[in-house]
Amino acid sequence: MRKLTVPISEETIRALQVGETVSLSGVIVTGRDAAHKYMIENFIHTNGQPPQSEREVYAALKEILGDGVLYHCGPVVKKEGNTWHFVAAGPTTSIREEPYEADVMEHFGIRAVIGKGGMGPKTLEACQRLGAVYLHAIGGAASLIAQSVKEVLAVHKLEFGVPEAFWVIRVEDFPAVVTMDSHGNSLHKQVVQQSEAQLAALLEK
């Protein structure tokens, strides 16, 4: 098991290979469908010149996402007094962000995207070009992952709804597996090919 600490250097990322298990610590941010749409419209289509109203969020995201980590997650949260807690925080299916992720990664200098189910060729190419990886969290392990969330530091765009907002969190020993590395390898692709061959053999019988 390899320990990763955010911010992560390109060198560290390039050393990772598919199939490796990692344990992640540091400050990361969640973002799913609404977040991606928002980032594309406000930051990427404007070439980094967001409308005045969005500048503050932009600055905050830039700071966290540079050499940072974006987590595809729609958490269940609880508010106690003035502080938020993560109750359940499993990954959501990543492939929905395939059209946007490569641009978002490039724009912010993201080093790792966490989610489940893997992503497609566009993101894989971006990982290779930019020096980034896709980390697969364990689907359904909501309680355990929530426990690795030690602190909620901020929330942006809460008006998108709790699952869709950007939650800035500090995690400790967040467990995941590298399934797309920066060398053009995708564990998902390998496993599909393998099971395809196995299926053909079984159906020959």
Binding site: G140, A141, A142, I145, V177
Partner: protein, 289 residues
């Protein structure tokens, strides 16, 4: 019959927060089989830790608490309307207590009802039986695994699957391959052969309520369950699709009469979070399992 709203809330709590012992045992055995230090072993370990934590804290095993499916066996004379009302009320209370995530979305307006009730939500099937007691089974069927569930119409030329058990075998293996890890493997398959499309899907989900170690009364289906479990695992998809020896933890098959023109095979894929619970009401006494 007494008001059972509170009992239904407890049934939901148990289903959502406590993974059945047979599932846990299967996960532990699977972990022991995987390569030490592999991603597959690691995934199973994380899952087992998560299961223990959920039970200890009485929090949902997975944040997607799915579609609640109730199968209700009731004695002659009990009002199913009253039971349905109590079950709906219990779903709302369980949502308030965070045993269930608000999961009922109006498909037209996109609005979430916020309390897990809506048009035909939760799912309830009532069966009158000749016993003097009430037995209720609950399955929390997650969305991710529902999305990889599927139905085939035989013959299927692509898979050279004819209208016989060999044809069934071929489409089931294809379904497991198509699903990869996306249904949060390792999963359990509930399979129905025959029926019309609707009845077939319902029957396939009902199979998921069977304990992993029960024996199919039909010897041919019993044999097929074992064979498909073994062959499904030979595909090597592994936990979460990371590759490995464990892709399936169980296969359960039921059959329905069909019309001569149709031959359907329905495959209900259930994730490792196979959350099922049951309760029996006999007079004043309520027991859970």
């Amino acid at each position: 019959m007494q008001d059972l709203t509170d009992a239904f809330v407890e049934l939901i709590r148990r289903a959502s927060t406590q993974l059945p012992e047979d599932m846990q045992k299967a996960l532990r055995e699977a972990k022991a089989q995987e390569e030490p230090g592999s991603a597959a072993e690691n995934a199973l370990e994380t899952i087992l830790k998560n299961v223990a934590l959920a039970r200890q804290n009485s929090t949902p095993i997975c944040q997607d608490t799915g579609t609640p499916i109730f199968e209700i066996y009731y004695p002659f004379g009990v009002s199913t309307r009253a039971l349905a009302e109590q079950i709906r009320k219990a779903c709302a209370i369980a949502t308030e207590r965070a045993y269930l995530r608000p999961n009922a979305v109006n498909p037209i307006t996109g609005e979430n009802s916020g309390n897990n009730t809506g048009e035909d939500f939760p799912t309830m099937h009532f069966h009158e039986w000749d016993k003097d007691e009430l037995q209720v089974y609950l399955l929390l069927k997650g969305g991710g695994c529902e999305n990889v569930s599927t139905q085939y119409k035989l013959p299927d030329t692509r898979l050279h699957a004819g209208r016989d058990l060999e044809g069934v075998r071929r489409v089931v293996l294809d379904a497991v391959h198509q699903a990869q890890g996306r249904g949060c493997a390792p999963g359990v398959l509930g399979i129905a052969i025959g029926g019309d499309r609707g009845a077939s899907y319902i029957k396939s989900k009902q199979q998921l309520l069977r304990p992993l170690d029960d024996e199919n009364p039909d010897p041919q289906l019993a044999e097929m369950e074992e064979e498909l479990l073994e062959e499904g695992n030979q595909l090597g998809i592994g936990p979460m699709g990371f590759g490995g020896k464990t892709t399936l933890l169980g296969v359960k098959i039921g059959a329905l009469h069909r019309v001569p023109a149709s031959y359907f095979v329905s495959i209900a894929y259930m994730c490792w979070a196979n959350r099922r619970a049951s309760m029996r009401v006999s007079g004043e006494e309520i027991t859970y399992a």
